[in-house]
Subunit: 206 residues, 2 copies
Amino acid sequence: MKGTLFVVSGPSGVGKTSIINSVINMLDNVVFSVSCTTRPPRPGEVDGVDYFFITKEKFLEMVDNSEFLEWAEVHGNLYGTPKNFVQENIKKGKRIILDIDVQGALQVKRNFDEAVFIFVAPPSYEVLRERLLKRGTEEPEALLKRLDNAKWELSKMIEFDYLIVNDDLVNSIQIMKSIIVGETYKTKRVLTEELIKNLFKGVTDK
Amino acid sequence: MKGTLFVVSGPSGVGKTSIINSVINMLDNVVFSVSCTTRPPRPGEVDGVDYFFITKEKFLEMVDNSEFLEWAEVHGNLYGTPKNFVQENIKKGKRIILDIDVQGALQVKRNFDEAVFIFVAPPSYEVLRERLLKRGTEEPEALLKRLDNAKWELSKMIEFDYLIVNDDLVNSIQIMKSIIVGETYKTKRVLTEELIKNLFKGVTDK
């Protein structure tokens, strides 16, 4: 069985990380995509688990060699999703989850369209605004920027394969789990050479 | 939310009907596709539930008007899947299950490619042969014909969207349930005008 990359995206505050964390505990053969970064590790962070910590020179070399599915600069540090990690895990039959902002997801789509793209949306723009206000972790200016960004992000949801409207967390978890399990059984992923051999062995022997 | 037609197929003896019957009991908003037939009702059969019982003249008129997704003659009687029934239920947001042989499924694919096609395969040709032998409900000649037919049917599985290898019934039931739930959340089915209104209302009002 071939693995699959699942790209999960949506505006911040929509609850996608909570959904992903629950789904990961319910399924076998699932791994988080590990990103490369040029920022130094924080206490407790482990190389190869939290991030691949690499130098800026190495990062830019990888950019030049098209070794990222997507990359971006955030507060002066570089972050990117290495193609190699994803491809190795697909070969092993793993389901890889990439939790990423909408802009990053669309970059992945251009570079790796065999991935499955899942958008998590709020039931309404009002609900998203309330959730971000309640969280209260941000300066008003940052909050306004997030809300402004959300408008653009919502306009991109048509480019995703699946759409989960997160009005009930428990329900959304079940839906994402079903999407991941269902996609695993796409014919193109199940039909290995071994299965073909088993199915047609008895036929040709006769 | 828009409904979907799920076409479930595979060689006879593979266990697809057992899987479908369990899945139907686990999900809401699911209906069986009801076929038209020219054969007379058997005791207890209800028109519109078991079949739509119609005359041969009416049936052939429907064929001429392309009102079937597929149709076939079996032992002198005509059987067909009416397009109208499927379309009405899609509008109502129902998930319609059509349990049909491979030849019929491929006919549906030519006429209605927005349906979702699921193939149920045995783990090997040997297992299928054993299952049909064990069933012992048929004359040797009919059995050989079924096995011969299975070869052709297995060669067509690549044309289906999903492939379930039925080596464990409980597992296969979970997989088919996930496929049906997952497909329900394809963006094209979830993105109704009402949702778009809710998502962009707050945006344009600002």
